[in-house]
Symmetry: C2
DNA sequence: CTGAAAGCGCTAACAC
DNA sequence: GTGTTAGCGCTTTCAG
């Protein structure tokens, strides 16, 4: 493997000093056009590119933003990530992405590694284990020295800059939508009952239903997807029980399974069960029927997160801002 | 924002030299247990973490692997990426991911940035524009100084370490599968005719069909997905034309649209059109009907890519190895 | 217009 | 067992 050429070697070949080469490469007005040309030509010839690590160390700035994500397979997070990258780049920053697999240990490690010189600031979606363990100290420690923005998942102890989605509002809007279409029996399905966000969504659903005399609610929560499918199919095909008018999916998986169950059991149109849930937008557009869904605007989440972080990088004093993105129900084929 | 503490400051507080602190932190046997304890305690107290940039510069090694991906929304690439990350971590490496958006300029820039000190080696899926422009010099230049592994997309000029998928075989296996189920008229649908991989797939399909007297082939290629949907629906519902027995989807989008079109037009079972194509595995499992698909083993691609790269990092001399992953047809609901 | 020298934070050979 | 020192590749002040 060929060795990479350094400024020093270029200087030697040209019989000038390293500082001259450095200045020439950076187009300093101190250097004559002639020398600049000479230096640049040789640099190009040898394929010189400044060593990024050395520049970072010297300048104490990397133009890197760290991003920590629980899971890349989560299409919402993937879309946020994409948008973080786009907006970071637009502002002259690169991103360094770590995945935690929802593990607290990985999250801690990622924060530690990133926060020491690698990046100027960090955008992080806290992992599930963090919420289970109610352990937020690693964030607090890091936030003392490194600008931090959390997104998507919130907790009162996570009082940093954050961008989240109005989750309660999503559920309430979906319920209200069902109500306006005369649904009576609403089934809440979830494969994420163990996740804090899953718990909140269920609680919000239940609270709403209890407050509405005209509505009746049922819940199916099951982590195992095959089991979940079975339970949903059993329920919606069981004619001995009151008919389900609408299903609210608490996550992508349960929404898809509900959609599949309705399709598979070929339920006649007259008995159509409405369905609203969470989906991968791109995918949803291409399937039939397209599910009516809760749009969480991942583009906005990504953009805002970058915006908040960069604002914090520039300001000297630290400002705390908590953005909440409003969601909307997008009516497609599975509801009126 | 609080300043991060350095080794120097710890040394001053403890009235020892920086090297003592450094050695103590790195558990050098030269240092007494007592001093180690003293140093470590203070380090912990002040939340000291070594500056990664400085360590990298000093050691001339970063334990970073660069990954360059055209598009994170592509579920195949996302899954490969996830597996690259997992296997990199397993070997003690972090990954730094850049997205090119299929743009040659971005690809060039990403390679340049990564190759100078940031990473030890690079895993890259070359972007489409690279193939359109037939411009491979940026890879060749980088490969002279930085270990490189390309994956997924290949070209005879890209003669580096690579992991690719046996694309021809995928198409041939699908055709053979249709043939074995007595299909006569096969429709090839594609939304990626403009992409090199799309061209190859179509060519392979056509060549096979022409060689088989018992088979008849048709092709619908259309970049605009709404148009594509219309064309597919028109074709499969047009009873004045010979009936389509099977559809081969050349990419995820056209496969999904075909599936949706069949479902939407409620084609009776007796006229069932078989469908094989490319899918997002996770998603496919949850929908109904689940599409019979070509498994490209993204896990293997990611794992092999890391393996090849690390092999190259360790060996002094450079070895070139071109891995080809065999695919398989996974029969689900849309074919016999 | 060019060069010498200091220093970013850390490690490690070498001295004591 | 601990300290001194040089140096990784680069930028930048200051001197000439």
């Amino acid at each position: 493997m060929k060795k990479k050429i350094t400024i020093k070697e270029i200087a030697k070949i040209l019989m000038v000093s390293v500082s001259t080469v450095s200045k020439a490469m950076n187009d300093s007005p101190e250097i004559s056009e002639k020398t600049k040309k000479k230096v640049k030509e040789l640099a190009k010839f040898y394929g010189y590119v400044p060593n990024h690590i050395a520049v970072s160390l010297k300048n104490q700035s990397t133009f890197n933003i760290g991003v920590i994500i629980p899971d890349i397979q989560n299409s919402f997070l993937a879309e946020v990530l994409k948008n973080i990258e786009v907006h970071a780049k637009k502002n002259g920053y690169r991103i360094i992405t770590f995945f935690t697999g929802e593990k607290l240990k990985e999250e801690r490690e990622s924060l530690n590694i990133l926060s020491n010189g690698m990046v100027e600031g960090i955008i992080v979606c806290p992992c599930e284990e963090t919420f289970v363990e109610k352990e937020f100290n690693h964030f607090k420690n890091i936030a003392e020295t490194t600008p931090l923005v959390t997104f998507d998942r919130i907790h009162k102890e996570l009082n940093f800059n954050s961008v989240s989605v109005d989750d309660d509002q999503s559920i309430l809007k979906a319920c209200a939508h069902f109500q306006s279409t005369q649904a009576k029996n609403i089934l809440f399905v979830s494969s994420i009952g163990w996740l804090s966000v899953g718990k909140t969504r269920r609680r919000t659903f239940n609270t709403f239903i209890e407050g509405e005399a005209s509505l009746n609610g049922e819940t199916i929560e099951e982590h195992n997807l095959e089991e979940l499918r079975k339970k949903i199919e059993d329920r919606i095909t069981d004619t001995s029980l009151p008919k389900i008018d609408a299903i609210l999916g608490a996550d992508i998986e349960s929404t898809l399974i509900s959609n599949a169950s309705i399709a598979k059991n070929n339920i006649p149109l007259i008995d159509r069960i409405s369905l609203i849930g969470y989906v991968d937008k791109n995918h949803n557009e291409l399937q039939y029927p397209r599910v009516s869904y809760i749009n969480q605007f991942p583009e906005k989440v990504g953009e805002k997160a970058v915006e908040l972080l960069i604002k914090n990088l520039k300001e000297e004093q630290k400002i705390i801002q908590q953005e909440v993105i409003k969601t909307e129900i997008v009516v497609k084929d599975t509801s009126k």
